[in-house]
Each structure stands twice: as structure tokens, then as C-alpha cells.
Amino acid sequence: MKKPHLHRVGAALFALCAMAGTAHALTEGEPLSMVYEPAPEQAQRPNGPPVESLRAPQGCTLYLPTIEDARSNQVHAGHLTLMLPTVHATPRSVQSLRSGDAGAWTRDALLSTRRYGFRTVAGAPVSPAATRQATATVALRLAHAWSAGLNLVSHVVLKASYRLPGGEVATRLYHGMGTRANWASGNSEFMSVLNLGMEEAVRGMAADAAALCEGKPLPAPAAGQ
């Protein structure tokens, strides 16, 4: 009776120690890959809740003449801070994650709007022949990931300046928040949670661009835009 109990305790302790070891799996010396990989589009499940779909109007071209990395800190893209869950908690350890090329990451994320049916053109001048189109210069304002409890969380903000008919310029901020379970605090996990945040921000922008293509006015800015 005693022996199996010891084994169970041993297994639990081993798991605890193994988890403590992997809690620092982040590789500080290696920048995040900044490779954009969109999650598969949500599909409707039998008897499941309806899935909100986003489709651009047919023949809609999204012109993105300029895409820039305008983050105030372009060196880092996240951090892992360990704090105990107490009232007087302060950071016990901090590790920062270096960022790869966030300009290319943003460009690839914006080009992925083709999945919604846009003809997306990046870095090229606007064609006067295009009738159904939306034009915006886009800046990445924030892309940061961190650990929160058992999860990794990210916040991505895109700033889009739309050129409206008549020459007027309207600006909108699009926020995306990603979250996923944190298994080992690995660089690839931080990258995938950043991708989730970016995908949500891009989707917000795509919804407004679709409205412009349909000839509708740009939706009013939400609070915080």
C-alpha cells in the first residue's frame, strides 16, 4: 500500500520539476520568426452556433500603398514575467523576447485578406481603373505578447488611414487580442499568440474595407479608435 503511494508522489514531483524546467523554455537569443500563419477559418458545426462569415464584395480591390512598422519599441515583441499570485506580488523574473521583421509580418497578414475575397495589392500605386476599391496606408502600432496565468496573451494594434472619395482621410485603430494555453513558454507559442492577435486586427480592418468597397460610408469609429 505504501509503495504505490510513494510512486504517485514521485510522479507528481517529477511532473512538477519537469514543468518548472519547461517554464523557462523561451530562447532569449533567438528573435521571434515573425512568420504570419492564419488560423483555419471557422466552420459551422452541425447544430452549432452560426459562424460569422466575412466576404468582400465581388471584384473589390484593397490597395495598401504603404505598410510600415511604427511600434515605439521595434526591438522586442513580448516578455515572460513571473509573479506570485499574492497581494504584494512584484516581478520575480523578467525575460524579453526579441522581434524579427515585423514589417514583413504585417504585410503578409494584410495580404491574407485575400481569404475574404479581396484582391489585395500591397506596395503598388492605386489603379484609377479600379471601380470597387478601398485604399489605406497601414502602420503596425503595437504587437506584444505576455504570459497571464496559464495563458499567453497578445495585443496587436493596426492603424489604417483610408483615402476616401473626395480626398478626405479617415483613420481607424484595429485591436486584436490573442490568447492560448501556455504549455512551455516557447518562442513558437509566443509567435502563434501574436498571429491570433494580428488575425483579429486584420479581420476588423477587412470588415471596414468591405463596407467601403460596397460604396457604404466608413463605419463610425468604435470607442478607443
Binding site: 514521485g10 520539476c17 518548472a20 506580488a89 512584484t90 516581478p91 503595437l142 497571464a148 495585443h155
Partner: protein, 283 residues
Amino acid sequence: MLRFLLALAALSAALLLGACAPFHRPLAAAHRAGVREVEVRVVVAQESFMFSAQAPGVSAATGGGLIGALIDSSVQQSRQKEMSAEVGAIVGPLLDYDYRFEAGLALGELLNAPNAFPLKIASSQVLAGMPPKAEQDARIAATKTGPAYLVLLLQYALEPGLGAFTTRTTALLWQAGNSEPSYRSAIIFQTPIGGGTRAAVIRRLTANDGRVIQAVMRDSLKQTLHVLGMDMAGARSGAVRTARFNVNGAWVTLAGNSFDEQPGRVVFRDQDGAMYSVRSTAP
């Protein structure tokens, strides 16, 4: 096998005891006298105000374990999505206010004020990220012949419900080439900012080009450095004081021994030596 398990148990017990050991390590008079100069680095690793769905506590309700943790994680995921618009409404207007910039101004003020800090400051800098381990180790080793090295790991936050602005800082001092810090402390600054709706709070913070939020940010580091300086100088604990403190959106009353008198603020140590600078007019 048994020996292995016992060794593992001993190791875990040591780790657990280590985690429970008092965090506060006062600066001994001999160590203080040994510091001719100090280089100060304030590490602010975050880029904006960080919000995330609060842990729903399913894992605790189900008796813990991996399944509970996974349920927690998935519940948080859906709540995080719901929070996105709310976070955008808070963080969006505050994106242009840079804590590191304000911290740099506060550090500059400290350098220009004679005798504001008990140690002579050779240089100071606000860092946007933690230096990699190798660099940090080399920096600590260099204290053998060079100035001491004081690192402040600082995290700032708006409490849920926007009732208060809080900074939580760990201060670590290395000297004489020792890998163990000769001083270690926890410092918490909080000031209430609430009153009215979320939109009203954000408007108030960002009015006049963000004068209020910028002042609160500067004040947080000034207070943190002041409290740190008092503790390093060996300030003694006095009478017990209480203060209202916002934890995750709820106001609670904390008590501790006061060690500084400032108009409008309560400065005290709790039973574990963590130091607080809290506004005395909090709700």
C-alpha cells in the same frame, strides 16, 4: 528508485522553502558603506497597459488538476475575445503615452536633486527589455571592480474597473562581484484614478495631452525610488497605519508599519517586508 524519489522530494522541499523564504533582504550597513557608486537600470518590459480575462477559477472548483486548468484556459479564451472591444476602448486612447519616457524624466529629476538617493548614482537608464542572461551575468560580475548595479523590474497596470493605477517593482542590488544580490525588495505604488464611467476616466486621464496620466506615471517612479532610498538608508518602522488598496478591482484594507510621513500618502511595510506607497484618500 526510492533514493531517487527521496532526492526529488528533498529538492522540491528546498524549492518550496526557497519560495516561502522572506523576499526582503535589507541592505546591511557594511554593504551600504561598500557602495561608492551605483548604476541604475529600470526595466519596463511591457509596451502598453496589459489586460487579460481574469482566471475564472474553474480549476480550483474542480479540485485542481490538468482538466480544470484546461477548462480555465478555454473559458478565458472566450472571455478574452469578449474583452477585445473593451480593451481597445481603454488602451487605444492611452497608446501614445509612454511609461518609459515619463520614467526617464523622473530618473532625470532624481539625478538633479542632491542627496535624493542614499547611494551616489553613476548612471541611470530606462530599458525597454530585460538584457539577456549572459549580458546580465557579465554586468553583475563587473561590479567586482566597478560600480554597484541596481536593477528595478517594474510592471505598471490599471486595475480592472479603472479604479487605480498601480506599479509593482522588484529592486535588486549587486555589488563586489557577488552573484547574490546584497539587497532585494518589493515596492508597490498605487494611486486611485476612478470615478465615473470608463469613458469618463479615460477622458480625465488623457485631457490636456495626457497631463494626468503622464503625471501619475512620473509620480509612480519618483515614489518608488523615494521608498527604495528610504529602505536602503535603513528607515525604521513606526506606528501601524492602514490604507485602502485596490486588488483586481476590489478595494481592501491593508495594514503595516509606517516608515515615512508624506502629505496625502501612506507609506508602510507589510509583515513580509513589502513596501507600499498608497494615497490616503482612496475609497
